[in-house]
Symmetry: C2
Subunit: 152 residues, 2 copies
């Protein structure tokens, strides 16, 4: 009844990746969020643009609201109409979406990427992950594991 993904917390490594996926890892969740971040905030439009069936989308939006990724706001009375807007946590997923897009463009999608962004600097956007402190790229050899979550 709750959500299947929740059972995931019961075993495996204690890990924020697993915890994050417990919130946004179910099918359609990220695609719904993609639409909201693109500015599509109405149920019907999100349904059309993702291809999700309406009842699953309804369930996903509900969990995303419960978990604080989206907020559901009434924008008119009579008849009551709602829109979904991203919370701070939702907006914080934007870099991850762009990272996924970059990865998909490079390793999955044939031909040029169907969606393209330009940065303020004028260049086509190809995001890169850097250390928040020294701003050097985060490459495999440049990090050291300090502490690892235990397997429960």
């Amino acid at each position: 009844m709750v959500e299947g993904m929740v059972t995931m917390a019961g075993a495996g490594r204690d890990c924020s990746i697993a915890n994050a996926l417990g919130v946004i890892g179910e099918r359609w969740s990220l695609l719904a969020l993609r639409e909201v971040l693109l500015g599509e905030r109405r149920f019907d439009q999100i349904a059309r643009n993702t291809g999700a069936s309406r009842d699953i989308l309804s369930a996903r939006l509900r969990t995303l609201v419960e978990r604080g990724v989206l907020a559901k706001v009434q924008y008119q009375e009579r008849p009551p109409r709602y829109e979904y807007i991203p919370t701070e946590a939702g907006r914080a997923l934007r870099p991850i979406m762009l990272g996924l897009m970059e990865w998909g463009d490079r390793y999955v999608t044939d031909g040029p990427g169907p969606t393209r962004w330009e940065h303020d600097c004028g260049a086509e956007l190809h995001p890169e992950m850097v250390c928040g402190h020294c701003h050097a790229p985060v490459l495999p050899g440049t990090t050291r594991l300090v502490r690892l979550g235990q397997v429960r």
Copy 2:
């Protein structure tokens, strides 16, 4: 028989995020990849550390190999034993995993993150997404949509 996720390509917006999720978006796929990137490359160990059931994990690893994210390499004969190692595409997902970890630490996990990394510069790793060209942070107001995938 193929994979449920594949049907996703049939509708919705033409989008590399959706395409990427078609490869790595199923449950357990990213957690299996997490273990491989942490250096756990044997089936039993991945099963224990993720908490996935063995048959599902077996299916997920097979798709990840088919799709070029992992490679399955025999490391001994008699009895034949295999290990899973990341391909270039798999290693390219490391920044996304770190981004997910950062997001989970901040918005989902209670208390301090269970897993922590240190960068070469000496600081605890808090990755950040920047423009690959000018190296400025990718903030919501600093990008412009040039082209958007069509809804099919």
